[in-house]
């Protein structure tokens, strides 16, 4: 039980070094360590653990990892590899992460990260903070081509508006989201469950290299660390916290993307879901999210922007079918128009009888309709105007009379 150099190493180290060391000692998102650090500060917790004082049972868990702990070398090696370590208090530290301290825990994971290892040319605080901030686009690894298509185009829309797209660099939706953002030459952030120097999955080596060249690759795990199932769950809370909102594109019932969505709602972020065919298993989780939790249904980038952008910066658009000239007619006009024969012209009295309206009123309305180009009048009476050539849905008779009287 005697650690070598116990007295010497117990000396207090700086906050940054202590956080690196604690990151090595504990598993990411261990709420006990997060709480201790929040109460005592990282150097004190670090010192206590080195002295093998049992704090809340953490010491026995991390004892095996005490040997060979060398945070200064970790930092130096990372710096040489172009990886920086961010911790609270740094300019680049995104304020959004502190929300995690008050968000509770899921799967016994929770709390703000001790620090973040970051690779890439962009500033994390700028991507996550300024303007519309960042949005997480996540989903199933076993996505369908429909899902990857929607994720890609949505990410491209968002990135084109300057919104950073956060995802987890996994197969399926994640990679489609990153690539969509890259295709728009926009910012994207990959949050990993392993060291930022590793390529996991290895098929995404090129993708991660590209993201690291143009955006950011982020992880709370020290370089070299491998991914485990628990680390993926811990990683999800960072994805949710860094974004203003989380879009789930395709997620089956047991998908990890739903875990991210749960984190997002714990953090009071906007939770959004992209619907799929109701028969599609990879969309079931999303549908359930929309049905039972208050996830908003989104179908395109502008829908997302409307929900996450700061109030007053985006004008919401109501999507609707194209307008036809008939839409602007009053009910009486419509009634008369329906009564006008197509080919064989009829006198106003006949039109009035068919329409069930008074002749005097019908004549007035017919004149208005003629001016608007809906009907024409000849010696025999009234009939519908021949349709304009081309037959475009929008072009057509233009209303002048009674235009303002519309409903």
């Amino acid at each position: 039980m005697s650690a070598p150099g116990r007295g010497a190493r117990a000396a207090e180290v700086g906050d940054r070094v202590a956080r690196v060391a604690l990151g090595r000692l504990g598993e990411p998102g261990d709420p006990r360590i997060a709480r201790l650090v929040a109460e005592l500060g990282a150097p004190a917790v670090h010192a206590a653990l080195l002295e093998q004082r049992d704090v809340c049972g953490v010491e026995t868990d991390v004892a095996a990892r005490l040997r060979g702990l060398d945070p200064e070398t970790d930092l130096a090696r990372a710096a040489a590899a172009g990886i920086r370590f961010l911790c609270p208090g740094d300019h680049e530290w995104p304020a959004a992460l502190s929300d995690l301290d008050h968000a509770g825990a899921l799967n016994q994971r929770g709390g703000a990260p001790l620090g973040l290892w970051v690779r890439g040319p962009r500033r994390l605080d700028e991507l996550c903070g300024s303007g519309t901030g960042a949005v997480a686009v996540v989903g199933s690894r076993s996505a369908t081509t429909y899902g990857t298509g929607v994720a890609g185009s949505m990410a491209a829309d968002l990135a084109g508006e300057g919104v950073a797209v956060i995802s987890g660099a996994a197969f399926g939706i994640d990679q489609a989201a990153h690539r969509g953002a890259l295709s728009a030459r926009g910012p994207t952030i990959a949050v990993l469950a392993c060291g930022v120097d590793r390529a996991y999955p290895s098929a995404h080596r090129e993708l991660l290299a590209y993201v690291a060249d143009t955006g950011l690759v982020v992880s709370e795990l020290a370089p070299g660390c491998a991914p485990t199932k628990l680390r993926f769950l811990a990683r999800n809370r960072l994805i949710a916290a860094l974004g203003r909102g989380t879009v789930v594109v395709e997620a089956a019932f047991r998908s990890g993307a739903l875990n991210t969505a749960n984190w997002a709602s714990l953090l009071n972020r906007v939770v959004m879901g992209v619907p799929g065919p109701v028969t599609s298993a990879p969309s079931e989780g999303v549908h359930e999210l929309i049905r039972t939790r208050d996830a908003s249904l989104v179908t395109r980038g502008s829908d997302v922007l409307e929900l996450v952008a700061p109030t007053g910066t985006v004008v919401p658009v109501t999507h609707r079918g194209s307008e036809r000239p008939h839409d602007r007619l009053t009910e009486r006009q419509q009634q008369v128009l329906d009564a006008v024969p197509v080919a064989q012209a009829a006198p106003a009295s006949s039109v009035a009888r068919t329409a069930g309206l008074a002749v005097a009123g019908v004549v007035t309305i017919l004149r208005g309709l003629r001016e608007a180009g809906f009907v024409e009048v000849g010696e025999d009476g009234w009939r519908l105007a021949s349709p304009p050539a081309g037959g475009s849905a929008v072009a057509g008779p233009v209303l002048t009379a009674e235009r303002q009287a519309g409903p």
Partner: protein
């Protein structure tokens, strides 16, 4: 009594009948009679033969009664290739040519008035028929010797003139004669040059992940494919890259295809000229036929005036038939396509004639979603100006029975901007995909050794279920789909075949639930699961979190 018998072949469709030409020279009313149901082209042979014989320096028995019988007499005969057999028959009857070598020799060729031998269509199937009936020697016009030589086990003699034939039969020195030009044969309908199609590569196609996969599966198993989508989405672009994915023809396939080309007016001239040095077969690449929708019934399905000729459906045999704008084809043509789609052959019946041609092509149909081509199921992209009625009429052209016979349906979307600009997009080149297709086809060839089938799409349903069933759980699911009415029995068979092809592409032992899922999605047009179609470099990446990580990826301390 002097009767001489020579032999030749009469073709009905692709079936050859052995015909004995019997010539009798006797006293009586001086005349030359040709009997045995000859049609106009055969009746004319009488005049051609007389001139050719005389001009070659022999004597026509013009002072006798010459009766020429084409036996069996009840078989209608058509074509100009009877000339040589008739002329030699007359010469044999008059004693100019010895008769002993005639009964094992097949004589094929049209005579010019100067005695030169001209090429005729259908030499290859005729030679095949000759071999099947025990003939050992075939005399053909010289330009077609290479074509006839494709059939193993038969001596082929290419000759230029009647004089040369007589010399050979007599066993004397063969005199020289000027060469005869091969008949130039132009395709009845050629839409785009084969060369242009051969240069196209899949690496030029961006996006369309699942349509590309559908193409790969179709090429691997010989399945029929329907691509629908708005105009300009890339349906044609994709379909034209299909022939590049198909492996070279097997010898047997090449023979079948050559026989069809031979029937429809001779093999393309440049192919005939290449001759047997091209690996012993004339055609090596599978055909790609893309007839226009205004093509006539006869040119598409087969028929024509006089002799029944194979149509485009048969000319695409062993390859691919691409029908662009499918709903614009005549309704009766669409309905008539049912037979080749299902059975791989087409029968043309008219009058007392019934001809069957092989037509085992992969059929690729392309259709717009509506007549104007702008309809889009996603409302926001919809610029369609068609009325609902017109749209319904258009869709109705692709009748249920045809759709049921299509294995793979894919909706092709125009390439989205984010796909076109994706810096990480690496579309696979044709060569890479073709290697996989070839591997999958090899697996099928191994499995179907000693059966008449080559590809999954050819195997009849009952045999497939009996000898090559799905994994039990997959079979159960497929049955469920049939009982619940989402699949017809025919549809289920097609899904079963598709599942085998997916398994062959994955080098799986037997199709299970995973393969069946892909097959069902391919058939129904549902979006494919990306995982099931993407090819990852190694098994390492398949390890999901939670499963044991491979060596070298040991976690730095467990949780």
């Amino acid at each position: 009594m002097v009767v001489a018998t020579t032999r030749t072949v009469s073709l009905t469709g692709a079936t050859g009948h052995l015909v004995d030409v019997q010539v009798d020279i006797s006293h009586g009313l001086v005349a030359t009679a040709l009997v045995g149901r000859p049609d106009a082209s055969v009746v004319e042979a009488r005049d051609r033969c007389r001139a050719a014989v005389t001009n070659s320096g022999f004597e026509w028995p013009s002072t006798r009664r010459v009766t020429i019988l084409l036996s069996p007499a009840d078989l209608p005969k058509s074509g100009s290739h009877f000339d040589l057999a008739i002329a030699v028959g007359v010469l044999a009857a008059s004693g100019t040519v010895p008769r002993r070598r005639l009964d094992k020799t097949m004589l094929i060729g049209e005579l010019g008035l100067d005695g030169r031998l001209r090429p005729v269509p259908g030499v290859l199937p005729m030679t095949m028929a000759a071999r099947a009936r025990g003939m050992t020697c075939v005399v053909v016009p010289e330009p077609q010797a290479a074509e006839a030589a494709l059939v193993p086990g038969v001596d082929v003699i290419g000759v230029r003139s009647l004089l040369q034939v007589v010399a050979r039969l007599k066993g004397v020195e063969v005199p020289d004669a000027p060469p005869v030009e091969a008949t130039a044969s132009a395709a009845l309908l050629s839409w785009r040059g084969d060369d242009r199609v051969a240069e196209l590569d899949l690496s030029e196609v961006l996006g369309m992940t699942d349509a590309r996969f559908a193409l790969e599966v179709a090429a691997s198993g010989g399945h029929h494919l329907m691509l629908s989508g708005p105009k300009g989405a890339g349906k044609t672009t994709l379909a034209e890259r299909l022939p590049g994915l198909l492996p070279d023809l097997e010898v047997e396939e090449s023979l079948e295809l050559c026989a069809i080309y031979s029937l429809s007016g001779g093999l393309p001239a440049e192919l005939s000229r290449r001759g047997p040095e091209a690996g012993g077969r004339l055609l090596t690449r599978p055909p790609f036929r893309a007839p226009h929708h205004s093509a006539s019934r006869a040119s598409l399905l087969g028929g024509g005036t006089g002799r029944v000729r194979p149509g485009e459906v048969s000319r695409a045999h062993t390859g691919a038939l691409f029908l662009d704008e499918f709903p614009l084809f005549n309704t009766d043509i669409i309905e008539a396509l049912r037979q080749p789609l299902e059975s791989g052959e087409i029968t043309i019946t008219r009058g007392e004639e019934s001809a069957t041609f092989p037509a085992r092509a992969m059929v690729v149909l392309a259709c717009n979603p509506c007549p104007c081509g702008d309809f889009h199921p996603r409302n926001r992209d919809n610029r369609c100006t068609c009325t609902e009625v017109r749209r319904r009429d258009y869709r109705r052209k692709i009748s249920g029975p045809i759709t049921d016979r299509i294995d793979i349906t894919r909706h092709v979307e125009p390439v989205a901007p984010h796909e076109a600009r994706d810096p990480l997009a690496r579309p696979e080149p044709t060569a890479v995909v073709r290697a996989r297709v070839e591997a999958a086809r090899r697996r099928q060839a191994d499995r179907y050794t000693a059966t008449p089938w080559r590809l999954n799409a050819h195997v009849p349903g009952p045999v497939l279920r009996e000898r090559w069933p799905l994994e039990p759980d997959a079979a159960l699911l497929l049955d469920d789909r049939v009982y619940s009415g989402t699949l017809t029995r025919r549809g289920a068979t097609r899904v079963h075949r598709l599942a085998w092809t997916v398994a062959d592409l994955r080098a799986a032992e037997r199709p299970g639930l995973a393969e069946l899922d892909v097959a069902l999605r391919l058939r129904s047009g549902d979006a494919l699961v990306v995982e099931s179609i993407s090819r990852r470099p190694g098994p390492v990446d398949r390890s999901l979190p939670g499963t044991p990580l491979p060596a070298g990826a040991v976690p730095e301390g467990g949780p």
